[in-house]
């Protein structure tokens, strides 16, 4: 081959080589956001660093500080804007009482007003609505919610929030950690959180919202967040201002007197599924399948109504019961006995 041909072949090989090298470094410098193992090389460290930096940059403007009036005091927490209209996800113990006005502090320090919406006390989810207009033609910059159930143990995540409460000249504080555990009501990570962070956002490395900070345990790895899936499944109720699973709601107290029946759980109606041997109902002649129509002289339509009447009775009280047994009306006189306290 002549010199020119050789030169051309050489330069072509050089081009291929360069292309290969640049492809290789392009592949090395991207962190797979669902990767569950720690970085193993300097290239890995750089790739993860790039992703983390971008995630923080993008998600800081969606992260807010919250000041909620609580009686005479003001409570400080964090939150995250999740739609154009300025809906904020936060912790249930931050939004607390629905319908109260609160202050939202944006990541640049600007303060706007809002109103608390609903919460779920058992899982600690809460919602707040910004009542001021958004800066982009009335719209608010906001996070996108991802399916928290797709998180894998070991996956890297970012926490933002205002530990210690919002501080002037301090933007949302970023922390890097990994998912350690999750179930339907909580995600646990190694991102340390502390008072003031409550309600703040947990992001995956695609800057999608996957959790809301809730509580901590003693160890630095006990940081618990509410998974976004738990918000999504109760979205409308929370947005409507409902309080779900309120532990202070009046629940029928365990009655002192007992009848000795189990009601059919497949229906609300007071249909007897079984009667307990030696107990008042059985002794009076009641049987499985009986549908109670009247209890203590009152017409009853649900098992709960029967329970409520029993709750107000004492052991030794006699109750008139009318029931339907395969089309026939049966009448019973039942003497209630004391409920034996369950072993703790």
């Amino acid at each position: 081959m002549n010199v020119r041909g050789q030169a051309r072949r050489l330069s072509l090989s050089l081009v291929y080589l360069l292309a290969l090298v640049s492809l290789a470094s392009a592949a090395e410098s991207t962190w797979n956001t669902s990767r569950t193992t720690v970085p193993g090389s300097l290239e890995d460290l750089k790739a993860l660093e790039n992703r983390v930096r971008v995630t923080i940059e993008k998600s800081s403007p969606w992260t807010v500080g919250l000041l909620v009036r609580d009686g005479g005091k003001t409570a400080a927490g964090s939150g995250v804007i999740v739609n154009d209209d300025g809906l904020i996800l936060t912790a249930g113990h931050v939004s607390a009482e629905p319908g109260k006005s609160c202050t939202i502090i944006l990541s640049d320090g600007k303060r706007v007003k809002g109103k608390t919406l609903g919460r779920n006390d058992r899982i600690d989810s809460g919602m707040i609505q910004i009542t001021d207009k958004g800066p982009n033609n009335g719209k608010w910059p906001h996070a996108t919610i991802a399916k928290s159930s797709e998180l894998k143990d070991g996956q890297y995540v970012i926490t933002l929030g205002h530990p210690g409460g919002y501080r002037d000249d301090r933007p949302p504080v970023a922390r890097l950690g990994r998912v350690l555990f999750q179930d339907k009501t909580r995600v646990r990570t190694s991102c340390t959180i502390v008072g003031g962070d409550s309600g703040g956002p947990l992001f995956d490395l695609d800057h999608k919202l996957v959790g809301i900070h809730s509580r901590i345990g003693w160890s630095l790895t006990e940081n618990v967040h509410v998974p976004t899936d738990a918000f999504v499944s109760e979205w409308d109720k929370l947005a409507a201002g409902d309080v779900i699973d309120d532990p202070t709601a009046r629940k029928p107290k365990l009655s002192k007197a007992i009848l000795g029946v189990q009601f059919d759980e497949a229906t609300k109606a007071p249909k007897i599924d079984s009667v307990t041997e030696e107990y008042p109902a059985e002794k009076a002649g009641m049987k499985a399948g009986d549908l109670i129509k009247k209890f203590d002289g009152k017409v009853v339509a649900t098992a709960d109504e029967v329970r409520e009447i029993i709750a107000r009775k004492k052991p030794g009280d006699t109750v008139d019961v009318e029931a339907d047994r395969q089309g026939k009306t049966m009448k019973f006189k039942v003497t209630l006995i004391a409920r034996v306290p369950e072993k703790p």
Binding site: T36, V38, G40, S41, L42, D44, L45, K46, E49, V52, R53, I56, E57, L67, D70, K73, T74, A75, A76, G77, A91, H93, D124, D153, G154, P163, G164, G165, R167, D168, D169, R170, P171, V173, A174, R175, L176, R178, L180, F181, R186, R188, S190, I193, V194, G195, G196, D197, S198, G199, H213, R215, I216, G217, W218, S219, L220, T221, E222, V224
Partner: protein, 341 residues
């Protein structure tokens, strides 16, 4: 405004996750150190272990080949020495102390150590990796920049919460006219009360040092531990009186957020009142502060200056250290010799 900070702390029991996560954090944290070895190797050569009364008390950053080492002043006490990575140990003397930054320069009789070069930190954005250089090949800790270098304002800028020092149990207000700290509230049976001091006494000197401003009393007391005795000069009505006060321990009812901050890690005694810090989520023990903190490029961006809370360790950045170093080396901050009674 005193805010109630929200985070419902739970007992470990109710978190009830399986006792082992499906990943082994301990094993993984050890694995993570491997790629950082090359990141810290140069800065490690400029890092020494500082010991006080034969216990590890801080890390030191070599700043001159003539044996000058930068460290965290408030951790120094008793007999000071430096242990190098080869195990050799050298007695050290305090050359300078700079209160505001809590930096001290100590000197050992050894030449030829490699000094650290300080690189500007201000442009380093949140999310970038940071590693703490140490006396061995692995970094002592790694983490990210949580908040980029900023000037501290408000509560964080106040020199407070050095809970390891002695207390007077008073509330004071600076009196411009009498040039001292006027006692506006005396805690019953507290240290000052027991010594015979009263409300409206104006403290004008502590151990011979005049009290020149609101912070001056706090700063003066920072040097002393609980149970130490200090001499107070006081103006009461038209007379001047002298009192000897035995300082008390910190027994304040910790606010809930203070308690939460202490959950999971030990905090530095002096952890506030710095002018400028870079904040990181890396976890450093108080005795491991004072050493170089580097970026992935191996650049020394500052020295760790305090474990400040559950979520934060603070770094004193290069931009703040450099001018203080110049002044210290020029002899501007000799260690104060305090005559204690």
């Amino acid at each position: 405004m005193s805010l109630r900070l929200l985070l419902a702390a739970v007992l470990a029991v109710s978190v009830a996750a399986p006792s082992h996560a499906q990943i082994s954090l301990v094993r993984d944290n050890a694995k993570l150190m491997a790629p950082f070895k090359q990141v810290v190797s140069r800065a490690n050569e400029s890092t020494v272990r500082v010991r006080c009364d034969d216990r590890d008390c801080a890390l030191g950053t070599v700043i001159s080949a003539k044996g000058l080492i930068l460290t965290k002043a408030s951790e120094l006490h008793g007999k000071i020495s430096c242990r190098l990575s080869d195990g050799t140990e050298y007695d050290a003397v305090i050359h300078s102390i700079h209160k505001k930054t809590d930096l001290a320069l100590i000197k050992i009789d050894l030449e030829g150590l490699k000094p650290a070069t300080f690189v500007d930190s201000k442009k380093t954005p949140p999310g970038n990796w940071l590693a703490a250089a140490g006396p061995h090949s692995d970094p002592l800790a790694v983490g990210i920049v949580s908040v980029k270098t900023r000037n501290l304002t408000g509560e964080d800028a106040l020199l407070t919460l050095n809970t390891n020092r002695g207390f007077l149990n008073v509330i004071v207000q600076y009196d411009e006219e009498k040039k001292g700290a006027r006692i506006t509230h005396l805690i019953e049976d507290g240290a000052a009360a027991k010594a015979g001091m009263k409300e409206n006494d104006v403290i004008t000197e502590v151990n011979g040092k005049p009290i020149s401003g609101q912070q001056a009393l706090r700063e003066a007391l920072d040097e002393f531990r609980p149970d130490e005795r200090v001499a107070m000069k006081v103006k009461r009505d038209d007379t001047t009186r002298n009192f000897e006060v035995r300082l008390a321990r910190d027994t304040s009812d910790l606010r809930r957020d203070e308690i939460q901050n202490k959950m999971g890690s030990e905090l530095s005694g002096r952890r506030t009142g710095f002018p400028t810090v870079m904040q990181t989520d890396m976890v450093l023990a108080p005795k491991d502060c004072g050493g170089p903190i580097v970026s992935l490029e191996g650049h020394v961006l500052g020295v760790s200056i305090a474990r400040a809370g559950r979520v934060e360790t603070w770094i004193l950045p290069s931009e703040t250290i450099r001018p203080v170093l110049v002044e210290m080396q020029a002899g501007k901050y000799p260690p104060t010799t305090v005559s204690k009674k």
